[in-house]
Symmetry: C2
Subunit: 231 residues, 2 copies
């Protein structure tokens, strides 16, 4: 958590968020009006925050990671726009899954990369396939969000197949599950072995480009310094 995020919460009258996240910051909630929820959906939570802000309160809507990367910021703007009333919104950036997972794996994101979500709930699968093909073909490091859930198990198999058409089976792959949480798990593998690894709802998968290598317990994508500086 950044200092800026702490300050934003401290300056707020009301804190709205998913209980799992709010439970991590009890000291920041003291003396605040708190609207937490276990089951309330994103849209409901967001609507509640907007109603409170429209009534003149200063509200922090708390989420995990970075609200600006595949997260709540967009929904907030879409709902404020639909609401019609002028409401000032500030997005406070945070450590997204891609930042946290890259750090845990070593240095896989030293060069151009593409972030792709495999969830086809809100995106047609052919669009996702096209992106996987493009990213694989142009040798991007690929960060896969939402690789698998209980109901969606085939998408990762298909994604791997698409990437394997362009990249060797020995391409390094890093899997980080529940990054920075108590149950964090880090696994380094290869495209060849990916499907035998434990990948779930809390996992992010990073697939190396043609230059990425595994060294000891880390995954590194060089930027070319070695060639330039002759280490």
């Amino acid at each position: 958590m950044t200092q800026a995020a702490q300050t934003a919460i401290q300056k707020s009258d009301v804190i709205v968020g998913y209980r799992t996240y709010l439970d991590l910051i009890p000291e920041l909630l003291a003396g605040k009006e708190v609207m937490s929820s276990e089951m309330m959906k994103e849209v409901d939570r967001c609507g509640k925050a907007i109603d409170l802000a429209a009534a003149g309160r200063t509200v922090s809507l708390v989420c995990g990671g970075d609200p600006g990367i595949y997260a709540m910021a967009g929904l907030v703007y879409e709902m404020v726009r639909a609401h019609g009333q002028a409401i000032a919104v500030e997005v406070v950036p945070g450590i997204a899954a891609l930042n946290a997972c890259a750090a845990r794996l070593g240095a896989p994101l030293m060069h151009d990369f593409a972030a792709i979500s495999l969830s086809d709930l809100l995106t047609p699968w052919p669009v996702i396939e096209k992106r996987l093909e493009a990213a694989a073909m142009a040798d991007f490091v690929i960060v896969i969000y939402n690789p698998r859930s209980k109901k969606r198990v085939e998408q990762l198999t298909k994604a791997r197949e698409i990437i394997m058409a362009e990249r060797g089976g020995q391409t390094p792959v890093g899997i980080v599950t529940a990054a920075t949480r108590e149950n964090e798990k880090i696994e380094l593998t290869t495209l060849e072995e990916l499907l035998s690894c434990d990948v779930g709802m809390q996992s992010t998968v990073i697939i190396g480009n043609s230059q990425t290598y595994l060294w000891q317990d880390v995954m590194v994508t060089p930027r070319g310094y070695a060639r330039k500086y002759e280490l």
Copy 2:
């Protein structure tokens, strides 16, 4: 800056970094051995940090943004590997330019995106062109790092041309210069108008996908919630 980064610095004996960044955290440097530099290059700073760590000191190597996104983490691993001695390395993630710039622009990174550096110092230009083409074709939001420097002015012109071949001139574009610094500047424009804007070494440029829209003073890429939830 995150709490984790503060803690890492507090636990270190020696702090190595570029003076501009160290000047931002005087209170964390009190009582520490500090090796700052204005002109010492990345490789020298990194080598100094590694030598100190090899001698048994606990060293923080401080950089701006996120060391794991186009930054120092990879160089550290490459140099530790070349050094040969066993040295424990931990990467502490931070707010990368893409996180900070996205937050300042609204919510442009709500869907799949590609990060591409236009610097051809360490990467052949044809590789960069291929990535621009792939990202444009597959409708990724595109985050452009190192769009322009005093010596490199043509790359952004070419990049815009490549993207315009796939995407309309009215596609929203956000430019953030010196994000979160005193001289921060935010500009919202379109692909059509991009070249008439002020883009420099401290700028990051985010180009929307086919769904991205400008609304009031922000740039939003919807995830499709509106269709699903009927806002």
